[in-house]
């Protein structure tokens, strides 16, 4: 790397009057970065990352905080200078945005003329954090992204790591992974039905949906110890085998969810208010879905028969029989129908797993990936060494690039993983389905009525932890 000219960051070059202590720190940092005694010119040239509190007169954020500058990033459209138009900010604290999404709406009377989604309020730099965590620690991080589908995040990350390692997992681990992700899909869709119902005025749906979801979460808690952020699916397998009596728990769970779903359908399917508020609202065409990267139930509601479980099966999910429900109109109502039908299909898969789950190990036996059982450590020096290496250094992954995607409840969950060798990923990029769904809000909302915003937004099912990461 010999580049020294950096046109875009000249103005941020190090201040010569800076205190000598800071200079020394920067010199040490450069040596640390370059790995040689020779000073590496990166930080001198870019000086990136100085997020320190500046003096009051130099702090650009201060004027915004004190309200002197109103930071409104909505660009006005010079073609329309119309006093009838007004700009409304919806969010980031609006209860119907399911988090901290901000929508700027340009209204003409009650009609929306333009929409701009503004995101980033929940950005916590998880992709950067992943570069400092080992692969063994990675699923703890990714499980917090889409917090309503933690198992899907863990699975995508684990599969990407296994793709780089070139290892398989035992059949029982595959079956457990599919069991947990499909139950997670059920839980996620149930919560979606609950919040969607409440958003458009069916308040009792909120109670019903949470009630059935709770049954799923109870099983997750029994299996993983946690109700969310499980860190259960890990590179090489799963963290632990299913608990004693899990067959009965799952066998009890399935009819409970089914009877709940039947109740929702009784409540909503022929409810004239629900139909009025959802049919023909928030339409997205199949072509727009492809253009904007919209996948999952939203694309299927538009008539695209595409499910990664069928098209690019992972974890042996092609062993199970299930259908891919699709819609026709691409409106809010079809998305409701598709998601309710997907709950039933996921339960079908769970039923088949109950009957066919193989016995055996739930982790890959490779000692470089899986820590040895506690008992082996007392008996074997190699086991002790492997245990020590795994928990100090981590799983060493060969160099390479991997993209792995799975079908999450909101669409394609993808993990783009770059390794340069070593125990930490060089780069982890997350293909978040909610990110694409938020991007597709403008074509769905433009020229619709402001009253339909909430229904459209709810049907897109964005999880802001997934959008912002």
């Amino acid at each position: 790397m010999t580049d020294t000219t950096l046109p875009s960051h000249e103005d941020e070059a190090a201040d010569p009057t800076e205190a000598s202590g800071a200079d020394e720190r920067r010199r040490v940092h450069d040596i640390w970065v370059s790995g040689t005694e020779e000073r590496f010119p990166f930080s001198k040239a870019t000086n990136e990352g100085a997020q320190e509190l500046l003096p009051r007169d130099q702090e650009p954020a201060l004027a915004v905080q004190e309200g002197i500058v109103v930071d409104d990033d909505y660009e006005s459209d010079p073609e329309f200078v119309d006093e009838e138009r007004q700009i409304i900010n919806m969010g980031p604290q609006h209860p119907s945005t399911h988090g901290v999404l901000r929508l700027q709406l340009e209204l003409e009377g009650e009609t929306i003329r333009r929409v701009k989604p503004i995101i980033g309020y929940l950005h916590t730099g998880m992709e950067k954090t992943a570069e400092t965590l080992t692969y063994a620690q990675g699923s703890t991080n990714v499980t917090r992204m889409d917090y309503l589908a933690p198992f899907h995040n863990e699975l995508a990350f684990s599969l990407a790591t296994e793709q780089l390692l070139g290892i398989d997992v035992p059949p029982r681990a595959d079956a457990i992974r599919v069991l947990m992700t499909e139950l997670n899909r059920v839980a996620s869709h149930l919560l979606w039905a609950a919040t969607m119902g409440m958003d458009i005025g069916a308040l009792s749906m909120m109670i019903y949906g949470w009630r059935e979801r709770e049954v799923c979460l109870d099983f997750f808690e029994k299996t993983t110890g946690l109700r969310m952020n499980h860190n259960y699916i890990r590179p090489g397998g799963v963290a632990a085998d299913l608990p004693d009596g899990w067959e009965q728990d799952v066998a009890d769970l399935i009819p409970a969810v089914r009877s709940g779903v039947a109740e929702y359908q009784e409540l909503l399917d022929e409810n004239p208010i629900f139909l009025d508020r959802t049919m023909g609202v928030g339409v997205i065409t199949p072509d727009e879905c492809k253009q904007y990267g919209v996948t999952g139930p939203m694309a299927r509601a538009s008539g695209i028969t595409w499910d990664l479980r069928k098209a690019m099966p992972y974890s042996g999910i092609d062993r199970y029989e299930f259908d891919v429900p699709t819609g026709l109109h691409g409106d809010v109502h079809d998305r409701y129908l598709v998601r309710i039908a997907e709950i039933e299909q996921s339960l079908r898969i769970v039923e088949q797993i109950l009957e066919t789950i193989p016995l055996g190990d739930y982790r890959n036996p490779d000692p470089k990936v899986t820590p040895p059982p506690r008992k082996r450590i007392d008996e074997s020096m190699e086991a002790l060494i492997h245990h020590f290496k795994l928990f100090t250094e981590g799983i060493v992954v060969p160099a390479g690039t991997a993209y792995q995607s799975i079908e999450g409840p909101r669409g394609e969950v993808g993990c783009y993983l770059v390794s340069k060798g070593g125990a930490r990923p060089w780069r982890m990029h997350w293909r978040a389905p909610s990110f694409a769904a938020v991007q597709a809000l403008p074509p769905m909302m433009t020229d619709a009525l402001v009253a339909d915003v909430v229904a459209t937004l709810a049907s897109a099912d964005p999880v802001l932890g997934d959008v912002d990461r």
């Binding site: 790397m1 580049d3 000219t5 950096l6 046109p7 941020e12 940092h29 640390w32 970065v33 040689t36 990166f42 930080s43 870019t46 990136e48 990352g49 100085a50 997020q51 954020a61 930071d71 990033d73 660009e75 950005h123 992709e127 950067k128 570069e131 080992t134 599969l159 296994e162 793709q163 398989d168 997992v169 253009q291 904007y292 990267g293 996948t295 695209i304 595409w306 098209a311 690019m312 099966p313 992972y314 250094e393 060493v396 160099a399 390479g400 690039t401 993209y403 783009y416 770059v418 340069k420 060798g421 070593g422 060089w426 780069r427 990029h429 293909r431 990110f435 991007q439 597709a440 912002d468």
Partner: protein, 189 residues
């Protein structure tokens, strides 16, 4: 265990992706063969998903053919936009990688097209004219890596505040440190 820290092995030779071997015949995919036919500079490799027979194709292309390739891929059936990912390779020149992920829904094929741009000119022409969905993803790459996408309609920060300085997913971005107070005094990190 120096290799656990990616920033310390700066002197290590550039890591070659072991399965990127240029060849003209595309194994296992007529759809991909149709796309790369007009691009002699494209190199590609077939990769397989974990525990699976299903494969996808990784293609790399010079930056000056970036938009033309995306249009050709769209015309050849890879018309579903999925993702744009950026990578800072830091020590391997050219430094930045931008990877476009496309699906052919009819054939059930995936391609990951990547291009590399140097540090002193991190410029990739925008794909918003080909895929409207590139909008947010290019803003994300601009925000986190400082990669410029000329022609983009609204290239502003998306995840970070507008007044943020620097691009934090670059490898030379100082992640900072907090001074640790000890009883005997303070150690300035």
């Amino acid at each position: 265990m120096s290799d656990t820290d990616p920033t310390t092995d700066i002197d290590a030779p550039a890591v070659e992706d072991p399965d990127t071997t240029p060849s003209r015949s595309v194994p296992g995919s007529e759809a991909v063969a149709a796309v790369v036919a007009g691009f002699d500079d494209a190199t590609f490799s077939e990769r397989s998903y974990a525990s699976s027979d299903v494969t996808y194709h990784a293609i790399s292309i010079p930056v000056d053919q970036w938009v033309a390739f995306a249009e050709a891929a769209k015309g050849a059936g890879f018309d579903a936009f999925v993702d744009i990912a950026a990578v800072d390779h830091f020590t391997d020149a050219p430094r930045f990688e931008v990877a476009l992920n496309l699906l052919d829904l009819k054939a059930g094929e995936r391609i990951v097209v990547s291009t590399r741009v140097p540090y002193d000119d991190p410029t990739v022409p925008t794909l918003t004219g080909v895929f409207a969905g590139a909008n947010f993803y290019e803003r994300e790459a601009y925000d986190l890596f400082g990669i410029d996408f000329p022609g983009h309609p609204d290239l502003t920060r998306i995840l970070l505040p507008d007044d943020w300085q620097g691009h934090p997913l670059r490898k030379d971005y100082d992640i900072g440190a907090v001074p640790v107070e000890f009883k005997a005094g303070s150690v300035d990190l």
